[in-house]
Symmetry: C2
């Protein structure tokens, strides 16, 4: 049994409405990418990233890989698998909530018919780490430390 840890971080300055933040990942594919209240909660704004599109990206990527593996295991040689992921945020008086993820998978697989595809999609879903995470959650631990100028306190 082996363990892999992957890391990312974000720095937020200011309060929610007027604040701005930057997001970075361990691979540096994201490096101090700006995000804001507007880029997150104004549905028309797609100029900056936001946490939800990153979760959608993770699911699309994880599912495509999982289906490739499942097809191979069942004797098929996939040419290409394209998955689009749409994640929904519902905003109401009680606040905001992420309510659903819809995946649309377009699979180019020689000798595969639709019935077999649907069976293998269900199998890939059971093996997909991100599907499983979004179904059952995970253990969460939050540690918090005060930093900064002590004389201000």
């Amino acid at each position: 049994m082996t363990e892999i840890n992957r890391k990312a971080g974000a720095i937020w300055t200011g309060d929610s409405r007027n604040g701005t933040g930057v997001i970075s990942t361990e691979s540096r594919i994201l490096y101090e990418q700006p995000y804001s209240h507007e880029s997150r909660f104004d549905g028309q704004n797609t100029s900056q990233t936001n946490p939800e599109e990153l979760i959608a990206a993770a699911h699309a990527a994880g599912f495509s890989m999982s289906l490739g593996s499942t097809l191979k295991k069942n004797g098929y040689n996939p040419m290409q698998i394209e998955t689009t992921a749409t994640i929904k945020i519902v905003s109401g008086n009680d606040g905001n909530d992420i309510t659903s993820m819809r995946l649309h998978v377009r699979a180019d697989v020689p000798s595969l018919d639709d019935a077999a595809l649907q069976t293998l999609i269900a199998e890939a879903d059971q093996h997909c780490l991100v599907s499983n995470l979004l179904r059952k959650g995970l253990d969460m631990e939050i540690k918090a430390t005060l930093v900064g100028a002590v004389h201000d306190r």
Copy 2:
């Protein structure tokens, strides 16, 4: 009540071990970013992105913003909030599983003491969209379509 949809996509070519993929988000912050089995499951490889670091990035970003908002609501003016997120994948004979997320929050907030910080961290966690998602999951729907050269089938 309003709804926002955020989108992302991935294209995978080949089977799992030898395949390669690319990830894109609606904002184009990620645009055809490569990922692979190695960049995902070789813990030493941090040269390419992977689904897990994107989920960690989403949680770090969402939590920092949520804490900023919670502090403001409680009368504090945060200078800076930095959150690092570590997500763990455990690999065993039964496959791979995402098991935990650890956040470490470093908050620079004038006039805030540690006891108040810990209380407000718990409040921010209850309002954080990503924390809630990772605690309770979401509705998932997967639609799959065959594409490509029909003469191959």
